[in-house]
Protein backbone atom coordinates (compact mmCIF):
# COMPACT_ATOMS: atom_id res chain seq x y z
CA UNK A 1 0.00 0.00 0.00
CA UNK A 2 1.43 3.34 -0.90
CA UNK A 3 1.47 6.04 1.73
CA UNK A 4 0.95 8.98 -0.55
CA UNK A 5 -2.33 8.10 -2.24
CA UNK A 6 -5.44 6.26 -1.21
CA UNK A 7 -5.26 2.56 -1.98
CA UNK A 8 -7.18 1.39 -5.01
CA UNK A 9 -10.07 -1.00 -4.66
CA UNK A 10 -11.24 -3.23 -7.48
CA UNK A 11 -14.26 -5.50 -7.42
CA UNK A 12 -14.38 -8.31 -9.96
CA UNK A 13 -17.12 -10.60 -11.02
CA UNK A 14 -17.14 -14.10 -12.42
CA UNK A 15 -20.06 -16.53 -12.53
CA UNK A 16 -22.27 -15.46 -9.65
CA UNK A 17 -25.51 -13.79 -8.66
CA UNK A 18 -23.92 -10.41 -7.80
CA UNK A 19 -25.17 -10.77 -4.25
CA UNK A 20 -21.77 -10.69 -2.60
CA UNK A 21 -20.63 -7.53 -4.30
CA UNK A 22 -24.04 -6.09 -3.56
CA UNK A 23 -23.16 -6.61 0.11
CA UNK A 24 -20.70 -3.78 -0.31
CA UNK A 25 -23.42 -1.46 -1.57
CA UNK A 26 -25.62 -2.73 1.23
CA UNK A 27 -23.20 -1.19 3.70
CA UNK A 28 -25.42 1.85 3.57
CA UNK A 29 -23.94 3.42 6.68
CA UNK A 30 -20.31 2.78 5.85
CA UNK A 31 -20.19 3.05 2.08
CA UNK A 32 -19.23 6.69 1.88
CA UNK A 33 -16.64 6.29 4.62
CA UNK A 34 -15.15 3.34 2.76
CA UNK A 35 -15.00 5.39 -0.41
CA UNK A 36 -12.91 7.93 1.44
CA UNK A 37 -10.37 5.36 2.54
CA UNK A 38 -10.26 3.46 -0.71
CA UNK A 39 -10.45 4.74 -4.23
CA UNK A 40 -13.08 2.75 -6.07
CA UNK A 41 -11.06 2.03 -9.18
CA UNK A 42 -13.04 -0.80 -10.72
CA UNK A 43 -16.49 -1.80 -9.54
CA UNK A 44 -18.87 -2.30 -12.43
CA UNK A 45 -21.95 -2.85 -10.32
CA UNK A 46 -21.45 0.63 -8.90
CA UNK A 47 -19.52 2.73 -11.32
CA UNK A 48 -18.88 3.20 -15.00
CA UNK A 49 -15.46 4.62 -14.25
CA UNK A 50 -12.65 2.16 -14.79
CA UNK A 51 -9.26 3.18 -13.52
CA UNK A 52 -6.29 1.13 -14.62
CA UNK A 53 -4.43 -1.15 -12.22
CA UNK A 54 -2.46 -2.18 -10.33
CA UNK A 55 -4.94 -2.44 -7.51
CA UNK A 56 -4.13 -2.56 -3.82
CA UNK A 57 -7.17 -4.59 -2.87
CA UNK A 58 -9.16 -6.79 -5.22
CA UNK A 59 -12.40 -8.39 -4.14
CA UNK A 60 -13.28 -11.28 -6.40
CA UNK A 61 -16.78 -12.65 -6.66
CA UNK A 62 -17.85 -15.64 -8.69
CA UNK A 63 -16.43 -18.91 -9.93
CA UNK A 64 -14.38 -19.84 -12.93
CA UNK A 65 -16.56 -21.42 -15.58
CA UNK A 66 -15.12 -20.42 -18.94
CA UNK A 67 -11.73 -20.41 -20.57
CA UNK A 68 -11.92 -16.63 -20.74
CA UNK A 69 -12.43 -16.52 -16.98
CA UNK A 70 -9.27 -18.53 -16.61
CA UNK A 71 -7.26 -15.92 -18.40
CA UNK A 72 -8.98 -13.01 -16.79
CA UNK A 73 -8.28 -14.24 -13.27
CA UNK A 74 -4.59 -14.57 -14.06
CA UNK A 75 -4.53 -10.97 -15.22
CA UNK A 76 -6.40 -9.82 -12.16
CA UNK A 77 -3.96 -11.63 -9.93
CA UNK A 78 -1.03 -9.91 -11.61
CA UNK A 79 -2.72 -6.58 -11.11
CA UNK A 80 -3.65 -7.09 -7.47
CA UNK A 81 -1.47 -6.72 -4.42
CA UNK A 82 -3.99 -8.29 -2.07
CA UNK A 83 -6.68 -10.53 -3.45
CA UNK A 84 -9.71 -11.54 -1.43
CA UNK A 85 -12.33 -14.00 -2.63
CA UNK A 86 -15.82 -13.22 -1.49
CA UNK A 87 -18.66 -15.68 -1.37
CA UNK A 88 -19.33 -19.35 -1.95
CA UNK A 89 -18.90 -19.08 -5.73
CA UNK A 90 -15.39 -17.68 -5.42
CA UNK A 91 -14.34 -19.87 -2.50
CA UNK A 92 -15.83 -23.19 -3.56
CA UNK A 93 -17.35 -22.89 -7.03
CA UNK A 94 -20.81 -21.94 -5.82
CA UNK A 95 -24.07 -23.52 -6.80
CA UNK A 96 -22.85 -23.63 -10.38
CA UNK A 97 -20.45 -26.34 -9.25
CA UNK A 98 -23.36 -28.75 -9.26
CA UNK A 99 -22.50 -29.16 -12.90
CA UNK A 100 -19.20 -30.69 -11.82
CA UNK A 101 -21.14 -33.78 -10.82
CA UNK A 102 -22.90 -34.10 -14.13
CA UNK A 103 -22.52 -33.70 -17.82
CA UNK A 104 -22.46 -30.05 -18.86
CA UNK A 105 -23.64 -30.81 -22.34
CA UNK A 106 -26.74 -32.35 -20.91
CA UNK A 107 -27.16 -29.32 -18.64
CA UNK A 108 -26.89 -26.88 -21.49
CA UNK A 109 -29.53 -28.64 -23.44
CA UNK A 110 -31.92 -28.36 -20.54
CA UNK A 111 -31.62 -24.60 -20.57
CA UNK A 112 -30.84 -23.69 -24.11
CA UNK A 113 -32.47 -24.93 -27.24
CA UNK A 114 -29.24 -24.71 -29.19
CA UNK A 115 -26.63 -25.61 -26.65
CA UNK A 116 -23.74 -25.52 -29.06
CA UNK A 117 -23.69 -21.74 -28.90
CA UNK A 118 -22.87 -21.76 -25.27
CA UNK A 119 -19.27 -21.49 -24.35
CA UNK A 120 -18.47 -23.03 -21.07
CA UNK A 121 -15.96 -25.13 -19.23
CA UNK A 122 -17.01 -28.43 -17.87
CA UNK A 123 -16.55 -27.36 -14.29
CA UNK A 124 -17.15 -24.45 -12.00
CA UNK A 125 -14.22 -23.97 -9.70
CA UNK A 126 -13.03 -21.69 -6.95
CA UNK A 127 -10.62 -18.86 -7.57
CA UNK A 128 -8.00 -20.47 -5.36
CA UNK A 129 -7.83 -23.49 -7.62
CA UNK A 130 -6.33 -21.22 -10.27
CA UNK A 131 -4.42 -18.43 -8.59
CA UNK A 132 -2.94 -17.57 -5.24
CA UNK A 133 -5.52 -16.05 -2.93
CA UNK A 134 -4.70 -13.90 0.07
CA UNK A 135 -7.93 -14.38 1.96
CA UNK A 136 -11.22 -16.19 1.50
CA UNK A 137 -14.47 -14.92 2.95
CA UNK A 138 -17.04 -17.69 2.90
CA UNK A 139 -20.81 -17.38 2.66
CA UNK A 140 -23.69 -17.43 0.23
CA UNK A 141 -24.04 -14.52 0.52
CA UNK A 142 -21.21 -13.12 2.60
CA UNK A 143 -22.02 -11.18 5.72
CA UNK A 144 -21.55 -7.48 5.13
CA UNK A 145 -20.18 -6.90 8.61
CA UNK A 146 -17.52 -9.46 7.89
CA UNK A 147 -16.80 -7.77 4.58
CA UNK A 148 -16.22 -4.50 6.39
CA UNK A 149 -13.94 -6.34 8.80
CA UNK A 150 -11.94 -7.68 5.85
CA UNK A 151 -11.60 -4.20 4.39
CA UNK A 152 -10.67 -2.72 7.76
CA UNK A 153 -8.11 -5.43 8.35
CA UNK A 154 -6.61 -4.67 4.97
CA UNK A 155 -6.40 -0.98 5.77
CA UNK A 156 -4.84 -1.74 9.15
CA UNK A 157 -2.48 -4.31 7.66
CA UNK A 158 -3.60 -7.24 9.74
CA UNK A 159 -5.39 -10.54 9.28
CA UNK A 160 -9.17 -10.27 9.31
CA UNK A 161 -10.87 -11.51 12.43
CA UNK A 162 -13.10 -14.16 10.90
CA UNK A 163 -13.61 -17.18 13.15
CA UNK A 164 -13.74 -20.51 11.40
CA UNK A 165 -15.54 -22.50 14.09
CA UNK A 166 -19.06 -23.86 13.68
CA UNK A 167 -22.35 -22.02 13.30
CA UNK A 168 -23.26 -23.61 16.64
CA UNK A 169 -20.86 -21.32 18.47
CA UNK A 170 -22.58 -18.26 17.03
CA UNK A 171 -25.95 -19.81 17.63
CA UNK A 172 -25.18 -20.30 21.31
CA UNK A 173 -23.45 -16.95 21.70
CA UNK A 174 -26.69 -15.43 20.47
CA UNK A 175 -28.67 -17.45 22.99
CA UNK A 176 -30.60 -19.46 20.42
CA UNK A 177 -32.11 -22.86 21.10
CA UNK A 178 -30.73 -25.75 19.10
CA UNK A 179 -33.41 -26.78 16.60
CA UNK A 180 -31.97 -30.24 16.14
CA UNK A 181 -32.17 -31.08 19.84
CA UNK A 182 -35.36 -29.19 20.68
CA UNK A 183 -37.48 -30.19 17.71
CA UNK A 184 -35.59 -32.84 15.80
CA UNK A 185 -35.10 -30.50 12.83
CA UNK A 186 -32.02 -31.64 10.93
CA UNK A 187 -29.40 -28.90 10.97
CA UNK A 188 -26.00 -28.54 9.31
CA UNK A 189 -24.79 -25.96 11.82
CA UNK A 190 -22.24 -28.28 13.46
CA UNK A 191 -20.27 -28.70 10.23
CA UNK A 192 -20.83 -25.23 8.86
CA UNK A 193 -18.53 -22.23 9.03
CA UNK A 194 -19.70 -19.43 11.28
CA UNK A 195 -20.35 -15.96 9.92
CA UNK A 196 -24.06 -15.68 9.21
CA UNK A 197 -24.95 -15.15 12.86
CA UNK A 198 -26.94 -18.40 12.91
CA UNK A 199 -29.93 -16.87 11.15
CA UNK A 200 -31.63 -20.12 10.25
CA UNK A 201 -31.90 -21.52 13.77
CA UNK A 202 -33.06 -18.09 14.84
CA UNK A 203 -35.93 -18.50 12.37
CA UNK A 204 -36.66 -22.06 13.50
CA UNK A 205 -35.13 -23.82 10.56
CA UNK A 206 -32.07 -25.99 10.26
CA UNK A 207 -28.87 -24.56 8.89
CA UNK A 208 -28.39 -25.46 5.22
CA UNK A 209 -24.68 -24.78 5.15
CA UNK A 210 -24.58 -21.78 2.88
CA UNK A 211 -21.39 -20.69 4.64
CA UNK A 212 -19.52 -23.82 3.62
CA UNK A 213 -17.51 -26.20 5.77
CA UNK A 214 -16.11 -25.12 9.14
CA UNK A 215 -12.49 -25.72 10.16
CA UNK A 216 -12.78 -29.38 11.13
CA UNK A 217 -16.16 -30.70 10.03
CA UNK A 218 -17.09 -34.20 11.12
CA UNK A 219 -19.54 -34.75 8.29
CA UNK A 220 -19.72 -38.49 8.90
CA UNK A 221 -20.89 -38.13 12.47
CA UNK A 222 -23.45 -35.53 11.53
CA UNK A 223 -24.69 -37.66 8.65
CA UNK A 224 -25.39 -40.48 11.06
CA UNK A 225 -27.39 -38.12 13.22
CA UNK A 226 -29.38 -36.96 10.18
CA UNK A 227 -30.12 -40.55 9.33
CA UNK A 228 -31.45 -41.10 12.84
CA UNK A 229 -33.71 -38.14 12.23
CA UNK A 230 -35.02 -39.77 9.08
CA UNK A 231 -32.81 -38.51 6.28
CA UNK A 232 -32.06 -40.95 3.49
CA UNK A 233 -28.73 -41.26 1.70
CA UNK A 234 -30.31 -39.50 -1.24
CA UNK A 235 -31.30 -36.61 0.99
CA UNK A 236 -27.78 -36.41 2.34
CA UNK A 237 -26.28 -36.28 -1.12
CA UNK A 238 -28.55 -33.35 -1.89
CA UNK A 239 -28.01 -31.64 1.41
CA UNK A 240 -24.26 -31.46 0.97
CA UNK A 241 -24.65 -30.51 -2.67
CA UNK A 242 -25.98 -27.03 -2.56
CA UNK A 243 -24.10 -23.78 -2.47
CA UNK A 244 -20.74 -25.22 -1.52
CA UNK A 245 -21.01 -28.57 -3.23
CA UNK A 246 -17.41 -28.54 -4.44
CA UNK A 247 -15.85 -27.51 -1.16
CA UNK A 248 -13.57 -30.39 -0.32
CA UNK A 249 -15.27 -31.72 2.81
CA UNK A 250 -18.76 -31.49 1.38
CA UNK A 251 -17.69 -32.93 -1.93
CA UNK A 252 -16.18 -35.96 -0.23
CA UNK A 253 -19.16 -36.71 1.96
CA UNK A 254 -21.71 -36.33 -0.82
CA UNK A 255 -19.72 -38.74 -2.95
CA UNK A 256 -19.51 -41.12 -0.04
CA UNK A 257 -23.29 -41.17 0.33
CA UNK A 258 -23.79 -41.42 -3.38
CA UNK A 259 -21.58 -44.51 -3.57
CA UNK A 260 -23.23 -46.10 -0.55
CA UNK A 261 -26.61 -45.51 -2.05
CA UNK A 262 -25.76 -47.48 -5.16
Amino acid sequence: MSHSSTPKLAVWKFASCDGCQLSLLDCEDELLAISEKLEIAHFLEASRLQIAGPYDLSLVEGSITTAQDLEKIQKIRQQSKYLVCIGACATSGGIQALRNFQDVKEFSSAVYAKPHYIETLKTSTSIASHVLVDFELQGCPINKKQLIEVILAFLQQRQPNIPSYSVCVECKQAGKVCVMVASGTPCLGPVTHAGCGAVCPAYHRGCYACYGPMESPNTQALSRRWQDLGASRKDLVRVFRTFNAYANDFHKISEFHEKKEK
Binding site: T66, A67, Q68, L70, H116, Y117, E119, T120, L121, K122
Partner: protein, 88 residues
Protein backbone atom coordinates in the same frame (compact mmCIF):
# COMPACT_ATOMS: atom_id res chain seq x y z
CA UNK B 1 -21.85 -10.68 -34.98
CA UNK B 2 -19.47 -12.62 -32.89
CA UNK B 3 -17.95 -14.20 -35.98
CA UNK B 4 -17.45 -10.95 -37.82
CA UNK B 5 -15.38 -9.63 -35.03
CA UNK B 6 -13.28 -12.73 -34.83
CA UNK B 7 -12.68 -12.73 -38.55
CA UNK B 8 -11.69 -9.11 -38.51
CA UNK B 9 -9.23 -9.82 -35.81
CA UNK B 10 -7.76 -12.71 -37.76
CA UNK B 11 -7.47 -10.94 -41.05
CA UNK B 12 -5.78 -7.99 -39.42
CA UNK B 13 -3.21 -10.28 -37.94
CA UNK B 14 -2.60 -11.95 -41.27
CA UNK B 15 -2.24 -8.67 -43.09
CA UNK B 16 0.20 -7.29 -40.60
CA UNK B 17 2.39 -10.37 -40.63
CA UNK B 18 2.45 -10.64 -44.38
CA UNK B 19 3.39 -7.01 -44.57
CA UNK B 20 6.27 -7.65 -42.23
CA UNK B 21 7.35 -10.36 -44.61
CA UNK B 22 7.00 -8.14 -47.59
CA UNK B 23 4.35 -10.20 -49.22
CA UNK B 24 1.08 -9.24 -50.74
CA UNK B 25 -0.36 -12.62 -51.43
CA UNK B 26 -1.51 -15.24 -48.95
CA UNK B 27 -2.15 -18.60 -50.54
CA UNK B 28 -3.10 -20.90 -47.72
CA UNK B 29 -4.33 -20.53 -44.19
CA UNK B 30 -4.34 -23.17 -41.48
CA UNK B 31 -6.61 -22.69 -38.50
CA UNK B 32 -7.76 -24.78 -35.63
CA UNK B 33 -11.32 -24.26 -34.49
CA UNK B 34 -11.73 -24.80 -30.77
CA UNK B 35 -14.25 -27.38 -29.64
CA UNK B 36 -16.32 -24.65 -28.09
CA UNK B 37 -15.75 -22.04 -30.75
CA UNK B 38 -19.16 -22.78 -32.21
CA UNK B 39 -17.82 -22.84 -35.68
CA UNK B 40 -17.70 -25.50 -38.28
CA UNK B 41 -15.08 -25.37 -41.07
CA UNK B 42 -17.79 -24.43 -43.58
CA UNK B 43 -19.07 -21.77 -41.31
CA UNK B 44 -15.57 -20.43 -40.95
CA UNK B 45 -14.86 -20.41 -44.64
CA UNK B 46 -18.00 -18.54 -45.40
CA UNK B 47 -17.28 -15.84 -42.86
CA UNK B 48 -13.65 -15.62 -43.72
CA UNK B 49 -14.29 -15.17 -47.38
CA UNK B 50 -16.56 -12.29 -46.55
CA UNK B 51 -13.95 -10.36 -44.65
CA UNK B 52 -11.08 -11.30 -46.94
CA UNK B 53 -12.51 -9.59 -49.96
CA UNK B 54 -10.06 -7.05 -51.22
CA UNK B 55 -7.22 -8.13 -48.97
CA UNK B 56 -4.08 -10.09 -49.65
CA UNK B 57 -5.83 -13.17 -48.33
CA UNK B 58 -8.67 -12.95 -50.79
CA UNK B 59 -7.98 -16.18 -52.65
CA UNK B 60 -6.34 -18.16 -49.89
CA UNK B 61 -7.13 -21.84 -49.49
CA UNK B 62 -8.51 -22.52 -46.07
CA UNK B 63 -7.59 -25.54 -44.07
CA UNK B 64 -9.75 -25.55 -40.99
CA UNK B 65 -9.44 -28.30 -38.47
CA UNK B 66 -12.13 -28.83 -35.88
CA UNK B 67 -10.74 -29.65 -32.43
CA UNK B 68 -12.64 -32.00 -30.12
CA UNK B 69 -11.20 -31.39 -26.71
CA UNK B 70 -13.51 -29.15 -24.72
CA UNK B 71 -11.08 -28.97 -21.82
CA UNK B 72 -8.38 -27.37 -23.85
CA UNK B 73 -7.63 -23.89 -22.56
CA UNK B 74 -8.21 -22.57 -26.04
CA UNK B 75 -11.37 -24.53 -26.59
CA UNK B 76 -13.33 -21.41 -27.25
CA UNK B 77 -10.92 -19.71 -29.54
CA UNK B 78 -9.87 -19.90 -33.12
CA UNK B 79 -6.21 -20.60 -33.48
CA UNK B 80 -4.38 -19.32 -36.50
CA UNK B 81 -1.66 -21.92 -36.77
CA UNK B 82 0.18 -20.87 -39.87
CA UNK B 83 -0.26 -19.52 -43.35
CA UNK B 84 1.61 -19.54 -46.62
CA UNK B 85 2.65 -16.50 -48.53
CA UNK B 86 4.04 -15.95 -51.94
CA UNK B 87 7.12 -13.87 -51.79
CA UNK B 88 7.10 -10.98 -54.12
Amino acid sequence: MHEAHLMKDLINKIISISKENASCKVTKIKVKLGALSHMTPEHFKEHFDQVAVGTCAQDAVIEAQQAQDIHDANAQGILLESFEIEES
